[in-house]
Structures are given as C-alpha cells and as structure tokens.
C-alpha cells in the first residue's frame, strides 16, 4: 500500500514537472500560403503554445491591409502531445481572408492575452497573384492520383524562393584587418519541401580573406522557426570563420547549393503510387559585404599582425644544466583569433646558447562559433658556455579589436644556471688539409702582431721619408761629384777651398809643437799656417816669396797697409825666433801663437770683404 502511494506521488510529481516544463509560452501567426491567387483565400492561424486553452482570452482577428476578413468567427482547435516525455499543449484560432487586389497584402500584428500577459505576433506579408498563375485545384478523387488509365496528374506546384532559401548571418560587418568574422549559412525550408541530396552547386570564394571552416554538428537537427507567417525548418549547412587579409571593402561570394525538394503544397495522393515528386532547385545566399579597416598606427615593436584576444605563457624545461645539455623554451599563445597565422615571438636568447628552429604545434578549440585555440612554439637550446644566464622577458604583441588597442603580453623566465665546461669539438673526419670536415678549425696560435689601427702607407710620413732619402743621396752624390771635378780643374778655387783647412791644420801642428816644447818646429808651423793661408787665398806660391813680393800681392788684393805691415812683421818675428841662438820661452811662444791666430782671422775677414 505504501509503495502504491509512493508510485502515485512520483507520477503526480512527474506530471506537475512536465506540465511546468511545457509552460514556455509562444505565440505565432501563421498563414496557409505566402502566395495566393486573386480568387483564393488565405487562412491565418494564431497558434498559442505552452498554455491551457482556458488561460487564453479569445483573441480578435488581426487587421489586414489589402485583405478582407471573411468571417470574424475563428475556428478553434486544441492539441496536446507528449513526445519523449515532453508535454506540449497548444490552442489555435484560424480566420480566413480574401484578397482585395493583386499585389502585396499584409495581415497586421495580432494581440493575445494569456492570463496577465499580452503577446504580439509579427505582421505577415502575403503576395496576391492573378489566379491564372496559380495551379488548378487538386483533384481529391480516391483513385485520381494513381489511375493508370486516367490522364496524367497535374504538375506539382512550383517550389518558390519562399519555400526554401539560404540565409547567411555574420558576426560583424565592419572589422579590423585580420579580425575574425564568423559566418553561419543556414538553409530555411518549409516542412513539406523535405530537401535531400543537397550539395554545393558552385565554387565559393572569399577573396581577400583567410578562411577556416568551423565545425558543424554531425547530426543535423532542424530547428523550427516562423518567418513572415510561415513555419520553416532551419539547419546550418556551413560555418566559416574569415579573416580579412587586406583593408578595404571586401566581398564574399554567395554560397550556392543544389538540392532536391518537393513542393510543400503538393498533394501526396496526386502522384503515381503515392511516390513523392522531387525537383532540383538551386539556391544561393546573399553576397556578404565586409568593411575591413586598417589597424591603427603606433604598433609597438614586435607586432607581427596578430589580432584577437590572447594570453602568453613561457616556460623552461629546466633551470640547471651542464654545458652541452639541452633545455626547452616553450611559449604558448592561447586565445581567439587567427591562431594559424600567429608568428613566433622572437625571444632574446643569449648568444651563449645554440638555438634550433622552434617546433610549432596548434590546438584548436571550440570551433563551432569562433576560431580559438593555442599555438605552442618550442625552442631547443644548448648552452655552449657556463655561467648564470637570464633570458629577458618574452613579449607578444597583438591588437585587440574589442578594445581597439595594441596589447603587449609579457612573460618572465627564471635564470638558468649552466655549469661545467664544454669539451672541444672533435670532428670524426678531416679534409685533405687536415681541417675538420664539417666544422671550423678553431684556433690559430701565431699572433704576428700589427697595430690595431692600421694607417695606410700613403698617410704615413715615414713612407715619404723612405722615398726621399735615396733621392737626397743621389743629390749629394751629384754635389760631391761637381766639387771633385772643380777641385781638379780650377786650381785657384781649389787652393782657396783648401786655405782654411790647411791653416787650421798648421795651427794645430803649431799648438802641438808648442806643447812638446819644440820652438823651431812651432815657429815653422806657425809661419806656414799664416803664409800658406795668404798664398792659397791669393793663389801665389808662397815658397820663395820675398817680403816685397808679398806686400805687392797683398796690396793687389786690397789689404790695408797697416795689416800688411803687421803680417810682415809677424813673419819676421817668426823667422827671428826660429833662427835665434836662444830658444824662445813658452810664454813668448803662446803670445806669438795668439798673435798668429788673430792675424789669420783678421786677414781672412779682410780678404772675404774684398772678394765679396
């Protein structure tokens, strides 16, 4: 008994729950056909779901433009169904309208009051065409549809653009360069059309865009919607994320499909053997126009064109290792945007590391609405030297279109401690010259120093000196040669040239004899010095020259008389001293030496002045 009460309670709770679950109220205004003939009527049904009929205040028929209400009384119907445990209740009110003229007519919004709430429907447009354009009324004969002996059945009603069409919805119409746009192509079809064998009819292109396909549900379950008073089933046939690759006005081609459908107005009994009659139709979505704006100026350094919303993570596989061991630097960029085209950031790896090209992996997520995911760059680093090394913070720059600004993400890394020393590289093979086959020969030992700042030859003074010295040598040789030649050919000049040296030589000898205490030789040298000088300068042979001849020559040379007398007197003194029986004293010789020197210089000066 207690179990029965429990079961009844549970069942009641389920019913209450299901009833509550079904209480989502919707009101739709539906027409029997969007296109009618001038002599036909259109049924307008106000379908109220999710409520009990008792809660609905009887609605009034909606007003119409171009249509006349046939009868204000509505035919009312109720429906209740349980599908997969879901209870659905609906109540409907139907009115008929007759067209007044051909053309476009409208049934305005209807107002429905359910309890305390009032709902409004959307106006519905109906196209009224000449009756001749409408198919003839269907025969309702029991056998008429499939009689083998009767006339062939009438052609089924044509499938119109209102029966099946493609609509494209896009996430945005004006975007930045490389900003993501999601486009959803949906096929709308009336329930009776039952499309099958659908395929893309033509190539589809989106020039100026990078494209990524978004995932679709593997089992396509149509949704029911009401558009302009007509109930449609809707399925997504293609979802695409596009990224404009250039700025400007861009166009995306229509998506065209070809599908087999049957007319929603066809009578299933009006076909042979009740077979459904399909016809092939093509439908195309509208062209999509996108305005792509260039990115604003002032992009920070390191910006490579990434647009979207991203995060950055950087990690090292290890922080302590030995020279020659490997570690990995991993950068992960995660977010929403064109993940595939994100370029690798350029971490500033110290030169001590041997670095290899990064391995790149892409992981896409949530690809049914927008492209998002992560891109991972992994560098292999091998230190070639020891030390504590710090890789500067890794930066990633992108443009966030929602904020309309550039964002710089940065991620710090811990220092790396490298220990040990590297073994010298050893090559397994060597070239014919003895160098490693595929490696450098590292060291050269002999420095052979030069100055670090090398001055070119033509800017060095010593270069010109080196050139000049030999030329000077040649010049000196020429001068010496000329002097030698003149000495040999011009006796007067030669004696004149020799006068001073010989006089100095004899004076030197006289000084020597004075020191030695040899008066004879002293006075001979002193006399020879003075007399020889005069003879050389005047180009006369002094040996055997009498005093008178000497005075005559001096007179010719323009030497003053008192100077002549002084000279002759000095020569006489020298002769007297040489031949005197008593040798002259040293002091006397020194006095005569000084006198001789003075006379020599005096006569030399006078001769110079006379000659010049």
């Amino acid at each position: 008994m207690r179990r029965k009460i429990l079961l009844i309670g549970l069942a009641s709770a389920c019913i209450v729950y299901l009833s509550h679950y079904s209480l989502a109220q919707t009101v739709n205004g539906l027409v029997s056909s969007p296109t009618i003939g001038a002599q036909e009527t259109v049924a307008y049904t106000l379908e109220i779901s999710g409520t009990n009929a008792s809660d609905v205040v009887n609605p009034s028929p909606p007003a119409a433009e171009g249509l006349t209400l046939v009868s204000p009384n509505a035919s009312r119907g109720t429906n209740m169904s349980i599908v997969n445990g879901r209870v659905s209740r609906s109540v409907s009110y139907t009115w008929h309208y007759r067209p007044e003229t051909e053309g476009s007519a409208r049934i305005l919004e209807a107002n429905v009051t359910i309890g305390d709430s009032t709902f409004h429907t959307s106006p519905v447009t109906v196209t009224v065409v000449p009756q001749a354009q409408r198919p003839s009324p269907q025969r309702r004969s029991l056998f008429g549809g499939f009689s083998l002996f009767d006339n062939p059945p009438d052609a089924p009603p044509e499938v119109t653009e209102q029966d099946i069409f493609i609509r494209a919805t896009q996430s945005d119409r004006e975007v930045y360069l490389n900003e993501q746009i999601a486009i959803d192509y949906k096929l709308y079809f009336r329930p009776g059309t039952m499309p099958r064998n659908s395929r893309q009819a033509d190539s589809w292109d989106a020039e100026g865009f990078w494209r990524e396909e978004l995932d679709l549900a593997t089992a396509l379950t149509p949704n029911m919607v009401v558009e302009n008073g007509i109930r449609y089933q809707v399925i997504s046939i293609r979802r695409i994320a596009v990224f404009p690759t250039r700025a400007g006005e861009l166009t995306i081609d229509p998506l065209k499909i070809s599908t087999e459908v049957q007319s929603p107005d066809a009578d299933p009994f009006n076909s042979p053997l009740f077979s459904q009659r399909y016809s092939t139709v093509e439908r195309a979505s509208p062209v999509i126009n996108i305005t792509s704006n260039p990115l604003p100026p002032g992009a920070p350094d390191g910006f490579t064109g990434a647009v979207g919303q991203y995060t950055l993570r950087a990690a090292l596989s290890r922080n302590t290792l030995e020279v020659g061991e490997a570690l990995q630097l991993t950068l992960t960029i995660e977010g929403t945007g064109n993940i595939a085209l994100i370029e690798a950031p350029q971490p500033e790896i110290p030169g001590i590391f041997e670095i290899y090209d990064p391995e790149v992996s892409i992981s896409k997520m949530g690809t049914n609405t927008l492209i998002s995911g992560s891109k991972t760059f992994t560098w292999l680093l091998i230190p070639r030297s020891n030390g504590t090394l710090q890789i500067p913070p890794v930066k990633f720059v992108y443009f966030d279109p929602s904020l309309a600004q550039y964002i710089v993400r940065s991620s710090d890394l811990n220092p790396i401690t490298v220990t040990g020393t590297a073994a010298a590289a050893s090559a397994t093979t060597v070239t014919a010259s003895g160098f490693p086959f595929d490696d450098i020969a590292v060291l050269k030992r002999d420095p052979n120093w030069v100055t670090a700042t090398h001055t070119p030859l033509h800017r060095g003074t010593w270069f010109y000196l080196l050139l000049l010295i030999p030329v000077l040598g040649v010049g000196v040789t020429a001068v010496l040669r000329r002097r030698t030649t003149r000495l040999a050919t011009d006796t007067a000049w030669a004696r004149n040239q020799r006068a001073h040296p010989l006089a100095r030589k004899h004076l030197k000898t006289a000084r020597k004899r004075l020191t030695e205490g040899d008066p004879d030789a002293f006075y001979a040298a002193l006399e020879q010095s003075v007399l020889g000088f005069v003879g050389n300068r005047l180009n006369v042979h002094e040996r055997g020259l009498t005093r008178a001849q000497l005075a005559d020559q001096l007179n010719k040379a323009g030497i003053r008389t008192e100077r002549q007398r002084e000279l002759i007197k000095f020569l006489d003194t020298c002769d007297a001293a040489r031949f005197a029986p008593i040798a002259a004293a040293t002091s006397q010789m020194e006095e005569h030496f000084a006198q001789g020197s003075r006379i020599l210089s005096t006569i030399a000066r006078e001769l110079e002045s006379v000659i010049s």
């Binding site: 050269k444 100055t451 040649v474």
Partner: protein
C-alpha cells in the same frame, strides 16, 4: 749632450712601454685561447676584445675571435671577424676553410652579382700578398735605381745597359710602391659589412628581410639609416647598429 740623453731616455721609455703592451697583449691572447679550448666562448670573446683595446691586433686574433662567435652561433659577428682576419692572413688555408663552413650556415636568399673583371684581376695579382711585401720589394728596386743614378753621376758612365738598368729599376720600384700604397689603402678602408642581426632592408619599393651573416656593401650613412647594397645589387637602408664593418 744633455738633450741627446733626454732623447735617448724618451725613446727607451717609449720602446719599453710598447714592449710591455705587446707582452700584455700576448698574455691576454694566450688566456683567451685557453678559454676557447675550455669552451668558455663568451669569456674568450671578452678577452680577445681586451687584446684589441691594447692597440694590437693580428690575423690570428681576428680568426680566433670569429671562431668563438661561430661557436656561439653568432654568425654575423663570425663573418665580420673572419673577413678582418682575411685582410691580414690573405688566403690562409685554415681561414678559407672556416669561411667556407660559416658561409654554408648563412641562409642567404640573395644571388650574387658577378665580381667585376678588374676586381678579380686585382685580387688574383695582388690580393694574396700584404702591402709590406710590395713595399719592401718596391723600396729595393727604388734603392737600386738610386744607386745606379748615383753611380752614373759619379762615374759619368755613358752606357746603354746602364741607362736601361736605371730606368727599369726606377720604373719597377715606383710601380711596386704604388701597388703597395693601393693595397694598403684598400685594406685599411671599410671593405664591406656583415649583417650581425637579422633585419629588414627598406628599399624604395618595399622591404626585404635580410638574414644574419649576409655580407653587404656599405655605401654611406644617411638620414634614413645606413645605405647598403645587397649581394644581388639591391640598395636600401638598414639600421647601422645591425652592421659589423670589416
């Protein structure tokens, strides 16, 4: 006498200081070589630069410095210093081998314009010898010519062979000295530059990515940056800081 002593002291002092610097340079050079052998390339590079700061350089120093940079995968610097080494070492087989290895690592997308014939001839004839060799040879011929002239002046020899010998020695001597000056001038001027950091070359029509290690011709510094010419002849501007001159 006093002035002579002072001059001698000054010369001796300068000579002593110079010898001390040279000894310091040699010491640092040996230390740097030891660091290279132990794999401490970054420290070795610092030591080699310390040698250069003493005012001395050598082909071996530039060579070893380039090798250390190469070990650290700094290809641009390696190219630059190997080229500096080539100026002093000429066609040293070890240097040429290393340059070949380094150039194989450069990801250069540029084809190279053919070398002008006169440049190839010049290099074939004179590129393998230092300016000093030409200088010494030239001075030798020049001295011989001067001695012959001096002999001619002194002895007044009227001899055709003597005249030809004088003219020939003088001509050869002056020619060799001219070549020495040209070689010296060429090797002490900037011959080019290597891209030491991947960069973008801005041209009149757009921009070109230039990888590290590519050798370019330096044209001059302008307001737009350093004007360079790529191996394929395309001219453009780069930031001067990415150039390593040699």
């Amino acid at each position: 006498m006093r002035h002579g002593a002072l001059l001698f002291a000054l010369i001796a002092n300068v000579g002593f200081a110079n010898a001390q610097q040279l000894e310091d340079a040699l010491h640092l050079f040996d230390e740097a070589n030891g660091l290279v052998e132990s794999g401490a390339y970054a420290e070795a590079i610092g030591q080699y630069h310390a040698v250069l700061e003493t005012g001395f350089a050598s082909g071996a120093l530039y060579h070893n410095l380039a090798s250390a940079y190469f070990r650290l995968d700094e290809i641009g610097e390696a190219v630059c210093y190997y080229e500096l080494a080539r100026r002093l070492l000429g066609d040293d087989p070890q240097l040429l081998h290393n340059i070949q290895i380094v150039e194989a690592k450069i990801q250069s997308p540029f084809s190279e314009l053919p070398t002008p014939f006169w440049r190839a001839w010049w290099y074939t004839l004179f590129g393998q010898y230092s300016a000093l060799r030409f200088l010494i040879s030239g001075l030798g011929f020049y001295l011989i010519a001067c001695l012959l002239y001096a002999h001619y002046i002194w002895s007044q020899t009227r001899n055709n062979w003597h005249r030809r010998a004088r003219a020939g020695a003088l001509g050869v001597g002056l020619l060799l000295l001219l070549i020495a000056a040209l070689v010296s001038g060429e090797r002490s001027s900037i011959q080019g530059a290597a891209i030491i950091e991947s960069t973008t070359l801005v041209t009149e029509t757009g921009s070109i990515d230039v990888p590290e290690g590519v050798k370019v011709s330096f044209i001059g510094q302008t307001d737009l940056g350093a004007e360079v010419s790529l191996p394929n002849g395309v001219r453009g501007y780069v930031n001067a800081s990415v150039l390593g001159f040699f």
